[in-house]
Structures are given as structure tokens and as C-alpha cells.
Amino acid sequence: MMEFGFRLSPSSTIDLDRADLSLYRKIERLEPDMKTCMACGSCSATCTAGQYSGMSMRKVILGLQRGTDVSGMLSCCMLCGKCTMVCPRGINTRHLILSICRTYEKK
């Protein structure tokens, strides 16, 4: 077939009507504190893994809220717990990470 060099670009739009939030709902029940995240970014700023791997606790929570896959990021976490120490909302982010991983495993 002739290759014209055209292709369809997928839309980057987040469509909240279609987003699959089932994982978010499950984790929201397990870890209700997650709902209080105010996206300050302290967790990501302090994360040792973040600088090298793109792990960001803030983005993990955001991804869950938007129904996107966050498993790639989680696999870079070393569970050091620094993010938990700095979170101004007192979210136990380390515990949250473990809960998210467990929920993924069950899927």
C-alpha cells in the first residue's frame, strides 16, 4: 500500500464522561485521605526516585482521578516514605502507594 505519511493523531483530551474511574473509586474507599490532596507537589519535589524515573505522587493521585494508568510510575517507587513526611495534608502516601499496588494486583 502506498504510504502518504498521513496518520490520525489520537486526541489528548481527558473525557471525564468516558473515563474509567473504577480504580479511583476502590482506592477512595480504602484510602479516603487521598481525596484531600491539594496538588501542592511537595511529595514529588522531595521524591528521590522522581528525579530519575518520573515518579510523582501528585501525578499518581491526579492520574487516578482522571482514570489514566499510573502503574508505570508506581513501579519506580522505592517506598522510602519521604513523601509521607512532607505532605501538608497528612496523607499517608506510602501506605496509599501500597494500597494502589495491591488493587492493581487484584485486577
Partner: protein, 336 residues
């Protein structure tokens, strides 16, 4: 004989000032252009942070002003500077001499229809903060569905918007949005509630606690990004578009009802009175105080004082505090 003081505006500021003036032995005369006292607050349902019924506050203020002279549905026709004071002519033909005038004419709610991209007055389910408050207070509103599944709030409608003519932040609407979002969630627990904000400006006592409660106890979702446009779907729902600036991606969602948080502008009647008195209007469209730190309640003209939202956006407690302070300033001015 007790001395007259003209108060222009019978909202919270005017009433509280009158109440204080009565106890200071002055003779306040309230001139109110609408047919009721209490201004915007009289049309509100509950006030943050304690969810105080607005009508209780207004009733208390009105009750304590029984001794004051009150002219409803009356405007100021002209004000002339005399040697020591002002001659004020009212639309009902009454003429009053007063050495001091208190301008307490408050704000005007931004007309949300001016932000055409949001479709207020065009789409079936787009309302404003005021409409919602009226509905909470018992008024009927067919734009609010019986069982909404998704409900949205748009912050900063007509505020922080140079094209809408208002650069200022209206200060109260972040908190009002959160309060109303919680009230919606209380009425419709199964409903998803979203707030679209640019910044959450929650400076006052207990405001942050409200934010935390809204997130934790009510599951209200906050999306950082200004709604860019709203349209109507074929089945009459509201289609909202914004950028989710935290994800850096465009976002869309359909809703059953969208509430626009209309902001505050200076009341045009305040500006026209300022004109008569040659009192300056500040760059933000509100009246210009002598200075914005120590003499907010004083104008540049002797004997002309301000209280409340005529000099800038204010909360109810700020307005009450200013009204008290203005009454005392006027008392001191008159006893010089």
C-alpha cells in the same frame, strides 16, 4: 437637637452604621433605592462559615434600626456642597442638610450573560450563584434538575478578567462555591460535584476547613483550569470544556447543571453619587479611599465617608466591621 447623618444604601453596611449611630446619639437617615433593606444579603440563604441564615442577620439589623429614618425606593437626586456640610435632595422631594454623608451603596453582581461563552440565559441549565442561593431559599428554578447526577461550579466569572472589565478578585466566591457545592452534595448525595478554579482563595476564618471538608467528607472534585466554553448537548445537558492545567491536557465533561460564580463590581449608583460629589473612582472601578491602609473609610473630601463594598470587594463580617468603624469616624468628625 440630634444631628442628621445621611446614609446612602440600606444594605448590611448602611444598617449596621445606622445602628451604631443611633447608639452614639446621632440621627441616621437611610436612603435605599430598592424596595427592601438588607441589600444582597437579604436575598441570600445561608452565610459561611457558620451557615447562619442570612435572613436572621438582616432581621436583627432591621430591628435595631427602628429608630432610624428610612426612605425606601428613593434615590439621591443631587448633593451640593455647603460651607459646612452637604444639602442632599432626594427623589421623593425631601431635602436634608447633613454635615457628614456615609456612602454604603455596596456592589453590583456581575451580569453573567456578558460572558457569552458560558451561555447564561441561553442554555437551559446554566445558572448563577445568586440563582442557586434563591433556590436554596425556596424559590422555584426549572433550570436546576430534580435529580442532577453531575453538577459544576465555575469560579471567577467576571472577576480577574480584564475583558469583563474587572481585574479584581471578588474574594467571596471561592468560599461561596465551596459552600454551595457542599449544600448541593447535601441535597443530592449521589451527585458528582466539580469546581473549576484558577486559584482557590480561601483566606478567611475557617475557609480552609471548608475546603478540607468539601474534599474529605463530600468528595467534591476540584479541577484547576478556567472553563473556556460551554455548549449544550443534543439532550439538553451542559458540555463544559477547560484545560486541566495540572495534567496539562484539555478536559471535557457533561453536566446536568452549571453554576457560574458571578463576581462583584462597584454599584453604578455609587459611581454616580461619587460623580455628584467629585469623589474619585479608583483604577479598579470602586470608590477611591483617602488611602488603602489607614483611611479606607474616608474619602478625599471632608465629611464624605465610606463603608462596605463601595470601596472594594468585601465579606459580610468585613462590611459590618467597616460600618461600625465608619459610624465612629463620623461621630468623631462631627464632634471636632
Amino acid at each position: 437637637m440630634k444631628e442628621n447623618v445621611i446614609i446612602i444604601g440600606g444594605g448590611v453596611a448602611g444598617l449596621e452604621a445606622a445602628r451604631q449611630m443611633l447608639s452614639l446619639g446621632l440621627r441616621p437617615i437611610i436612603v435605599e433605592q430598592s424596595d427592601h433593606l438588607g441589600g444582597h444579603v437579604a436575598c441570600w440563604h445561608r452565610l459561611f462559615p457558620d451557615m447562619t441564615p442570612a435572613r436572621e442577620l438582616v432581621a436583627k439589623l432591621v430591628e435595631s434600626c427602628r429608630e432610624a429614618n428610612i426612605f425606601l425606593e428613593t434615590t439621591v437626586q443631587s448633593i451640593n456642597r455647603l460651607k459646612d456640610g452637604y444639602a442632599v435632595m432626594l427623589s421623593n422631594g425631601v431635602n436634608i442638610l447633613s454635615r457628614a454623608v456615609l456612602i454604603a451603596s455596596g456592589f453590583k453582581l456581575f451580569d453573567a450573560a456578558k460572558k457569552e461563552e458560558y451561555g447564561y440565559g441561553v442554555y437551559d441549565h446554566v445558572i448563577t450563584n445568586r440563582d442557586l442561593e434563591n433556590w436554596f431559599a425556596g424559590a422555584e428554578d426549572l433550570r436546576i434538575p430534580r435529580e442532577p447526577k453531575v453538577f459544576g461550579f465555575v469560579h471567577c466569572v467576571g472577576s480577574r478578567d480584564i475583558k469583563a472589565g474587572n481585574t479584581q478578585c471578588s474574594k467571596v466566591c471561592c468560599m461561596t462555591a465551596i459552600k454551595q457545592a457542599i449544600e448541593i452534595k447535601e441535597k443530592f448525595p449521589g451527585c458528582e460535584v466539580f469546581c473549576f478554579y484558577m486559584d482557590l482563595r480561601l483566606f478567611g476564618k475557617k475557609y480552609e476547613d471548608f475546603y478540607l471538608n468539601a474534599q474529605r467528607d463530600y468528595g467534591i472534585r476540584f479541577i484547576r483550569g478556567r472553563v473556556s466554553e460551554v455548549s449544550e448537548t443534543i439532550d439538553g445537558r451542559v458540555q463544559v470544556k477547560a484545560e486541566d492545567t495540572l495534567s496539562g491536557k484539555p478536559l471535557k465533561i457533561q453536566m446536568d447543571c452549571l453554576c457560574l460564580m458571578a463576581g462583584m463590581q462597584c454599584n453604578p449608583s455609587a459611581t454616580s453619587i461619587a460623580d455628584m460629589l467629585h469623589v474619585e473612582v479608583d483604577t479598579d472601578g470602586f470608590l477611591r479611599s483617602k488611602d488603602n491602609i489607614y483611611s479606607i473609610l474616608e474619602s478625599q473630601k471632608p465629611g464624605i465617608f465610606f463603608a462596605g463594598a463601595c470601596t472594594g470587594t468585601k465579606t459580610v463580617p468585613e462590611t459590618v466591621a467597616e460600618a461600625r468603624a465608619a459610624a465612629l469616624s463620623i461621630f468623631n468628625y462631627l464632634s471636632r
